[in-house]
Symmetry: none
Subunit: 213 residues, 4 copies
DNA sequence: ACTTAACCGAGACGGTACGTCCTGTCTTTTC
DNA sequence: GAAAAGACAGGACGTACCGTCTCGGTTAAGT
């Protein structure tokens, strides 16, 4: 896996059971004690593993945690192949964003995700790995849904889809991470509506006239 | 100051020189060594202060850092009383966001701000202090500018200004913190335009006519 | 104390209870687990002390052990002010050497003393401290007894007392440390007699004629 | 070889080149880094050998070192078949002891021999092996020389030769190991003279008349 | 002016975790 | 089937900081 290859280590001889025990322990521990109090020693102890086995394969606790997420996302196999596409973009986006809110709010994932997010904020290398291995696939799904909407005339033809995604998901993530306000389904809905319509007034006959086509 | 009042401490007898030395040292050190390697001992040593003097007045290194920002924002006196208001909302927002991009990109502030942001992400109490003391005043300025635009008919009448602010600034902060892409003036411009116009197509004769720019 | 002064440490603030707990624990542990398995961590744990408190004041576990002996020899206060002097040198030496044999054989002291002896063998600095603080006082007592005998005409006038002491105690220590043979009271007696008379034949009328004078 | 036989190992298939490489590396390393920092891993690495090959054949690093000495003493072939015997015991002993002093003082052998000596002090099993395989042959040579002197009337008839040997060599070894004083040829001479004549005064006409030299 | 109480610098202390090194065992692959 | 290679669980190393705790020495109040 991307982040774990170290110079001297011979991956062929690697013990898979230890690897999984480490990642599982790391994920559980970060839930229980928080990221700051997550220690390599603690992970090793819970995993029944020598510390060296962790240091041999990962450069930092952030990297361990990242791989823990990676394992989860691979094990939680299947991964929805696509975002819902009922033809009603606004409704679909609301569905997806409400799900995101639910996940970010879930106490099982809140701490671990904050941990990953803040670690990424401080470690550009980890950030790159995150973008490539975890974020890119998700972004691709989102892009597909937006492209579909664009073809259906529900989005502006000249719209930059990357900016569009930032506009839709950025406010959510920001509010979650910085706690700048309550993170609710209602907020998600509002972000969807507002970003779709824009901040400016729309002409009376309404820009969303075509919605639901 | 909000975060520093402790039960037993008598603020009247407090030594102002030590206070400033601590905050300055903290801010400098976080630039030099990063937040993770920022230590109370290091701050105390550089400030020429006993550790106890720090522990007496602040509950955590995050709180010290927060006060360091507070001091900076108070010393960087004046604080623009308002955001620019030329009557052209789009241009004004671009100006402001470009400035934000410049600040976030400035190597002197990048690390310290990341430190503060991630500390906030893990410490709700600190987050509350941040919202009240640093974020709220800024938000008020933004709200005023938007309200002015709203009155001028440049923003939808029923627009929720808080959501609007999230829509404008969220993508920027998110991209900065998560490094999901390059943070440039051009990006700032695009975010402004897109959020104002919304993602949907605008009817040709529609609204403020500039759509598609 | 000679060995414990470190560059940065401020001895005035030193905690005496911790110091004694460390030395006591070290001495007990070396009896129980042997010198090789004696660890700084173990000493710290048993003494209820942080490891740093040991590293702050002693450069090595050998130095700790040395101070443990020093403490013992100072606490076991009084220290015989002189070796027995009945006028009969041979008898007195036998008494003393038998006592030495008993001490070296005592399971409470055997391991700790071996530990000290072998540590001295590898650490010239510690050896110097040993010579000055533990060995010298003992040697002075021995020298006094021998000088008394010399004045009484029981020892050769031109005898080098240092060599004499080596001749008497060297074989004993060597046999103990190297286990080159059983270490018994009988052996002690033989060493005394033989060293006093020398290896060569004595003239028939016997050199020990004057003994008991 | 005595110490290396293990239960499961089949000595017949053993690779002689590895064995010699291990012993040579061990001897060299102990010179370079000292006994305390001598490690099995280090020996294996320098010998270009797997750790298991060492663990298969030796029970401890002390045993390896012991065999290294054994190899040396066998390779340093020939082994003087006897100690010098010019008829003048005193002169011969001085010759031998001066040689011993030179060897113990030789920086190439000092550390390794200290290592062996101190290891023996802590490991009775190793001590036994040492006595049988390295010490006994040497002692036999010494005994022969002394017996010859005894027959010539230069030593007391009733002298216990083992005690005699302890008396002659003990002081030397002790001074070397414990660094209780400078180890010189002059000291060796003095030990010989004093032990031969004994500590007591000799009657003027007495014995071999040389007393007082 | 004289206590007196808190602040302050300094830094020792009991702890925890770090990241490294080595132990002795095990497994895989090569000869 | 011994040997080179090296991963592994375990544990000690010596260091860095944590947060608490004295210890003098200022430094302002309150008498």
């Amino acid at each position: 896996m991307t982040t774990e290859r170290r110079a001297t280590a011979n991956a062929a001889r690697r013990k898979e059971t230890s690897r999984r025990a480490i990642l599982t322990s790391a994920f559980e521990l970060v839930q229980e004690v928080g990221y700051v109090k997550l220690t390599i020693e603690g992970i090793a102890a819970r995993a029944g593993v020598g510390k060296q086995t962790i240091y041999r394969w990962w450069p930092s606790k952030g990297a361990v945690l990242f791989d823990a997420f990676l394992m989860l996302s691979e094990d939680g196999a299947g991964e929805p192949a696509a975002l819902p596409d009922t033809g009603d973009l606004e409704a679909d986006l609301k569905t997806v964003l409400r799900a995101t809110v639910a996940e970010l709010t879930d106490p099982r994932y809140d701490e671990p995700m904050r941990a990953l997010a803040t670690e990424i904020a401080h470690d550009p290398e980890l950030a790159a790995a995150y973008l490539e291995r975890l974020d890119a696939p998700l972004k691709e799904l989102k892009r597909q849904r937006l492209r579909s909407a664009q073809r259906a005339g529900q989005l502006a033809d000249d719209l930059d889809l990357d900016v569009a995604m930032d506009l839709i998901w950025g406010p959510l993530l920001n509010r979650w991470l910085q706690r700048t306000g309550p993170l609710t389904a209602e907020y998600a809905d509002r972000v969807v509506t507002t970003s779709l319509n824009g901040l400016r007034p729309r002409s009376p006959e309404g820009g969303s006239a075509r919605a639901g086509a």
